[in-house]
Amino acid sequence: MPDLNFQEWADTANADAGLVHRGRYVNAVVLLDLGDEHHLISIRDGRIESIVPKPRVMPLWTFAIRAPREEWGAFWQARPVPGSHDIMALLRRQVMVVEGDLHPLMANLRYFKDVLEIPRGKANAA
């Protein structure tokens, strides 16, 4: 499973002017469900403000993206195999679930795809 560097993830996203511009209307908190680990990605005006572990009490998020640890690991390979190469492919294979208020995700799909692919090749896959 990838050993994620959340600060590097956020810094990389925020340093990409095109990405931030595409996401300039995005204000959302995304629950990233890695199976046995949960994090909240807070986004304001297209910039990632923080990525923090989900609080134990009263967590609040806009929408959740859930997949088992091994699926995220395959997704974050530098060169994923077909079927692990896109979040839509994971949804199609029914190994990923998105739930909650999905309007921000669908209205800004390329932005979220780009953000979620940032750890690709950087995460240390076990």
């Binding site: 060169r79 077909p82 079927g83 190469h85 896109d86 979040i87 839509m88 492919a89 949804l91 199609r92 294979r93 029914q94 999905l102 309007h103 669908m106 209205a107 800004n108 799909l109 390329r110 795809k113």
Partner: protein, 284 residues
């Protein structure tokens, strides 16, 4: 300065289908066996421009591709603002056969991709007499929904942004960037609700196993080519088809996705050329 005029001709056909006159744009290049090409859902005939500029094809085949009504430069019928567009299997079959009849195409080959790869199954089942051979690109019997289609056509989501983002992962990772961007631009240009209307046919009108088993490939040969990065029609979907339809084989194209003809023409031709050579050699 460098300038080239491509050897592709575009014209319009006035064709009445089900009581409605359509103005249908089509392009063609080459001469020989008619090869009628069907574009994917929500796109248009520009997907086949590479095929139309390949002498290895156009010296032996007359390559023709139309824009379906509501797509590309074909008109949407009068009243489009007041009713939703919804493609049906019967209307799509009648369009393909009607177009071939209108152009007096003698023993044409039909090659369709995605929804076009689905309709060739219906043509194989119902009109094997009309065609020399059929080629299904990204052919599958059905697709289970994997996202909510309502997002494709609603005022608070820009479909010109959403649909290319949905399609982007369907393209092989090594496709030339220019081809990737152009393929997605075709999607960005689709009219409101048109991609969603095409998906009615693609996702809601499946062929049954009995339909598939009834296809007689001795009456009209049927070929399947599917890119491995496709998660709309996955390789296993085409493999399933080939298992159901006697006399067919699923050829999985490595490195390609859902749009082989517009992603990477050279790589696509490494798979298509042997099929075209077989069709040519077999004659009628």
């Amino acid at each position: 300065m460098s300038a080239t005029i491509e050897d592709i001709t575009g014209r319009y056909l006035r064709l009445t289908l089900d009581g409605t006159e359509h103005r249908i744009y089509f392009e063609e290049a080459g001469s020989g066996i008619p090869l009628l090409c069907l574009h994917t859902a929500g796109a248009d005939n520009r997907q086949y421009r590479h095929l139309m500029q390949d002498p290895a094809v156009t010296e032996r085949f007359r390559v023709i591709a139309f824009d379906m009504p509501w797509h590309g430069k074909s008109s949407a019928p009068e009243g489009w603002r007041d009713r939703p567009y919804e493609l049906t299997a019967d209307a799509y079959r009648d369009l393909v056969v009607g177009f071939a009849d209108a152009l007096d195409l003698v023993d044409p080959v039909v090659m369709g991709c995605s929804i076009g790869g689905r309709i060739v199954l219906k043509l194989a089942l119902e009109r094997p007499d009309r065609f020399r051979a059929l080629i299904g690109l990204q052919s599958g019997p059905h697709v289970a929904p994997y996202y909510e289609r309502e997002y494709l056509h609603r005022p608070d989501v820009h479909a010109g942004d959403l649909i290319p983002a949905l399609m982007s992962g369907l393209i092989g990772p090594d496709a030339p960037t220019a081809n990737r961007d152009e393929t997605l631009w075709h999607y960005a240009q689709g009219g409101p609700g048109v991609f969603k209307g095409d998906l009615h046919f693609y996702k809601d009108e499946s062929l049954s196993d009995d339909d598939l088993a009834a296809i007689d490939t001795t009456a009209c040969p049927l070929y399947f080519l599917t890119g491995e990065y496709d998660y709309s029609c996955m390789p296993e979907d085409t493999i399933y088809l080939a298992a159901q339809i006697k006399g067919t084989e699923a050829i999985i194209m490595r490195g390609l996705g859902h749009f082989p003809m517009s992603e990477d023409h050279e790589l696509f031709m490494s798979y298509l050329a042997p099929v075209l050579a077989t069709i040519e050699a077999e004659g009628l």
